[in-house]
């Protein structure tokens, strides 16, 4: 069953005074199965962020549709969109986006508090997640007191605590050092193994090589895709690298 279906997505930005039109997405279609771990790759300006914003219902497409669990998110009323986002999607950002007025624990609780959960339920959900992400000791600290890797793990915990249909990660390793990056990617694989669907946008080959499938976007279109099947991470890294070279040097389209 498709958990996410993207059909003929098109997005055109018009500059403020109406003069120039910029086509960010020209025609994007793909689907994600439940339990998949999909990485979307592309260079800067290829439309990755636009795509993610549309998937997150933060932006509206010019044409085309996005179905989450068969429900068209373009048709959700403005008033319900925040609740929809809160209940169905979990976000992990490049620069963590933790609020420095909250302790790590309260940052993780934030979406649950907004959803009106009881304090008991929050604690019940937090414990296993905190244990798995190894952030139990820092729960009482504030974001400015912990390392980048810890912040990102806290952000992951915040994304997971609502038990979302889909975790959307935007360049999650972008601000981390190599050790923290490796740890976070291992964590993503683990979570995915437990059945969590993940969609990650990145231009790091290392990050993408952990995905089960890699989509390449170029000039607003899905240019190519790679399935991992039985490849090791090492081999996947090589394949992605080759593909990127091909794309960069203007190879034939094979998708």
């Amino acid at each position: 069953m498709h958990i996410l279906e993207v059909n003929n997505l098109k997005k055109v930005y018009t500059t403020r005074f109406g003069g120039n039109k910029v086509q960010a997405l020209s025609n994007v279609s793909f689907s994600v199965e439940k339990g998949e771990y999909v990485a979307i790759m592309g260079e800067s300006g290829s439309g990755k962020t636009t795509l993610l914003n549309i998937l997150a219902a933060l932006d509206k497409p010019t044409s085309g549709e996005v179905l989450l669990n068969g429900k068209n998110i373009g048709e959700i009323k403005e008033k319900e969109i925040s609740a929809f986002r809160r209940d169905n999607l979990g976000f992990v950002f490049q620069d963590f986006n933790l609020l420095d007025t909250f302790s790590i624990q309260d940052n993780i609780f934030l979406p649950l508090v907004l959803a009106g959960e009881t304090h008991l339920e929050m604690n019940k959900r937090l414990l296993p997640i905190a244990r798995q992400l190894e952030i139990t000791p820092i729960l009482g600290k504030y974001p400015y007191e912990v390392s980048g890797g810890e912040k990102q793990r806290a952000a992951v915990a915040r994304a997971l605590i609502t038990r979302p249909q889909l975790v959307l990660a935007d360049e999650p390793t972008g601000a981390l050092d190599s050790r923290a990056t490796a740890a976070l990617l291992k964590l993503f694989t683990e979570i995915n193994d437990q059945g969590q669907t993940i969609l990650m946008v990145t231009h790091s080959i290392q990050a993408a090589s952990h995905g089960k499938r890699v989509l390449f976007i170029k000039d607003g279109e899905v240019f190519h895709q790679l399935y991992r099947t039985s490849l090791s991470t090492q081999e996947m890294y090589q394949r992605i690298s080759d593909t990127l070279t091909t794309i960069a040097t203007g190879g034939e389209r094979r998708a």
């Binding site: 997150a56 933060l58 008033k79 969109i81 925040s82 609740a83 986002r85 809160r86 209940d87 976000f91 950002f93 986006n97 933790l98 609020l99 420095d100 007025t101 909250f102 309260d106 609780f109 934030l110 979406p111 508090v113 907004l114 959803a115 009106g116 009881t118 304090h119 929050m122 504030y142 400015y144 915040r158």
Partner: protein, 656 residues
């Protein structure tokens, strides 16, 4: 390098930062204008021609000094705020290759342009307004003859000197800020990691104690003299308490709220409590400033307004009769002589003396302890709270005043006072009298009303004489002697009353005789209270401007700080409406906390201030209460208006 490079750059910078500089420029213009107006009136030559004009000028000059001091504080504060916001900009210039001395040049031109613009517009608008305000002042002091008003050159030069000096100081401060900073620090500017505020229990304790003490003093002050000596102490205590509680107390309360999990983890409280916690850390001092300034505005305006509105009351309290004559140091007790002197003058003017008060009395300084009154220097210092006067009258004189037959035994007295005398006996100079009844309060010599003092009616002259001898033994050469008092109401024009007054004055050339005419004193009363009200308006406006300024800049700073925070909240699933609601509740809280606290301060100070006003013969408490309420409402409306305007700026910043 193009010509006028630095000048152009400076102008562009000002334009680019117009959102913050506009308010600064307006403040410059406003303070310069106010300073100029008050100064030009205070040095005006024409005021010398009015009687009492010299005192009025001193009063105005005092106002000029206060305005000068506060203008300096406000402008320097605003400047420091502006520079803090622009550190990043300077860091960028620095990295792009401008040296610090180039930055200093840009800074110099920016300051010069601001100063020139502020001084020009401020002084020109001051010139236009000063004429108008001079007329307002003349109206307030009820002066009817039109006076010439010319703009004195000295006002221009002092304004330029003072505010030029302030601008120079600002420039020096800014240069110091640039000189001290390293480029990377300039770039980072304001993003210094925020730590969670700690609860400072000691400060909370100190704040609670000082505030409680201040309030207690204000509430337990009974006599005006006490009020005088304690007022500034109480004000100081309340100020300290306000600062402590705003800074530490607010954090303490919020942390307690946070500890209550069921309260804290609710959508409405969650973001508000944690947001406020950090907000209070940055803003507590600013809010305490706003609170104290607001209190100052409320007190200044309500007291000066009440004094001005009640001026006729005060006049009547201080001078209960149209004309009163007091003859001190009378050896004999014959009262006919004075009457024989005065009444023919009234007859010549064909007026009848009415509501005649005609008595002799003996006034002794005493220290009250319950129902006994101690006589002797050793029992009181000048400001001890129990000091008062006992003024003894004979029954015969009293009967003439109240116009009804009464009888007294030798050991009986009647007590007349506005304040209740709760005891059954009265002991003074080793004699104990039984209080037969509380008599009708009649207004005698004005000062007796101000302090907690009593008129005591004794049986006859013989007892009066005994008391006189007894106190003379104690006080020696400082002893009191008998006083004759003759006062009457006249139904005639003020001019005729003045004529009669002058004639009586001329005919009694004795320095031990005090002659007062209400008509003659009216001018000086209007001069004093009109002048006070006039300055009150100026100071009130200035403080209001300061309050508005602080509020405005607080909002902007917070807007920039909150911008990122609210973007994140929307990403994790808070909708626009919720974001707005959260902002509103936090901003409302931060905004109206100082106003509410100021209101509470005034409420507690009310009793003490009304006692103080008693010294100025304002006894109409209801009038003062209404003035307070009125001022509070007007101020609140103004405050709300400012809130609405700045909240719009805030939303604009946050919703980018």
């Amino acid at each position: 390098m193009p010509r006028f490079f630095y000048q152009t750059l400076a102008l562009n910078n000002l334009k680019k930062n117009s959102q913050t500089y506009r308010a600064y420029l307006l403040t410059c213009i406003g303070t310069i204008c106010m300073y100029f107006v008050l100064h030009s009136i205070s040095v005006n030559q024409a005021l010398n021609e009015i009687s009492g004009g010299a005192q009025l000028k001193i009063l105005l000059f005092f106002g000029v000094i206060v305005i000068g001091i506060f203008s300096t504080i406000f402008l320097l504060y605003t400047n420091s705020f502006l520079i803090k916001r622009r550190k990043k900009e300077f860091g960028l210039f620095n990295i792009l290759g401008m040296e610090k001395r180039h930055l200093a040049k840009v800074m110099f031109w920016e300051n010069l342009f601001t100063a020139l613009f502020g001084l020009t517009v401020g002084i020109v608008s001051g010139m236009i307004l000063s004429k108008l305000m001079f007329l307002v002042l003349l109206k307030l002091i009820a002066f009817k003859v039109p006076l010439a008003f010319e703009i004195p050159f000295s006002s221009i030069s002092t304004s330029v000197a003072l505010f030029g000096g302030i601008f120079a100081l600002s420039l020096l401060y800014n240069l110091g800020q640039i000189q001290l900073a390293k480029p990377i620090e300039l770039l980072r500017g304001e993003q210094v990691g925020e730590r969670e505020p700690r609860t400072k229990w000691l400060l909370i304790l100190l704040g609670t104690v000082t505030l409680g003490l201040g309030y207690t003093i204000a509430l337990t002050t009974e006599s005006p003299l006490q009020a005088f000596s304690r007022f500034f102490g109480a004000v100081l205590l309340v100020m300290v308490g306000t600062y402590c509680l705003f800074t530490a107390g607010s954090v303490g309360v919020l942390k307690l709220l946070r500890r209550n999990k069921n309260y804290y983890y609710q959508p409405r409280h969650f973001t508000a409590v944690s947001g406020l916690l950090f907000r209070m850390k940055q803003n507590a001092v600013g809010l305490a400033n706003i609170c104290i300034l607001s209190t100052a505005v409320l007190v200044t305006l309500s007291t000066t307004f009440a004094l001005y509105v009640g001026v006729e009351d005060q006049l009547r309290n201080r001078f209960p009769r149209s004309i009163d004559i007091v003859v001190y140091d009378v050896e004999n007790t014959d009262m006919g002589e004075l009457r024989a002197h005065v009444f023919p003058i009234l007859e010549r003017h064909a007026v009848q003396p009415q509501e005649l008060l005609d008595f002799r009395n003996l006034t002794i300084t005493v220290a009250q302890e319950g129902d006994s009154f101690l006589v002797g220097r050793e029992y009181f210092s000048d400001f001890s709270p129990n000091v008062g006067f006992l003024s003894f009258l004979t029954l015969a004189d009293y009967q003439k005043i109240v116009n009804k037959p009464l009888a007294l035994q030798e050991d009986e007295v009647i007590i007349c006072s506005d304040t209740n005398y709760p005891y059954e006996t009265l002991t003074v100079l080793e004699q104990t009298f039984t209080v037969k009844e509380q008599g009708t309060p009649f207004t005698g010599q004005g000062y007796l009303d101000s302090f907690n003092s009593y008129f005591v009616i004794v049986k006859d002259l013989e007892i009066l004489g005994e008391l006189h001898k007894a106190q003379a033994k104690v006080y020696g050469e400082n002893a009191s002697s008998f006083t004759h008092y003759l006062g009457f109401e006249l139904e005639s024009t003020p001019q005729q009353q003045l004529d009669i007054y002058k004639e009586i004055r001329a005919s009694i050339a004795n320095p031990a005789v005090d002659i007062n005419s209400r008509a003659a004193e009216r001018d000086s009363f209007y001069m004093l209270y009109g002048g006070l009200f006039f300055i009150g308006i100026f100071l009130g406006t200035l403080f209001l401007m300061g309050t508005v300024l602080i509020i405005y800049y607080k909002q902007i700073t917070e807007g920039y700080d909150d911008q990122k925070r609210f973007v994140i909240m929307q990403q994790v699933g808070m909708d626009q409406a919720e974001v707005k609601r959260t902002i509103r509740s936090q901003v409302l809280m931060v905004f109206f906390l100082p106003l509410v606290t100021a209101g509470i301060h005034v409420l507690f100070a009310f009793k003490m201030i009304s006692k103080l006003l008693g010294v100025f013969n304002l006894t109409n408490i209801a009038l003062f209460a209404w003035c307070c309420v009125g001022t509070f409402i007007v101020f609140g409306l103004f405050y709300g208006l400012v809130y609405a305007c700045t909240a719009r700026v805030y939303y604009k910043i946050v919703s980018v």
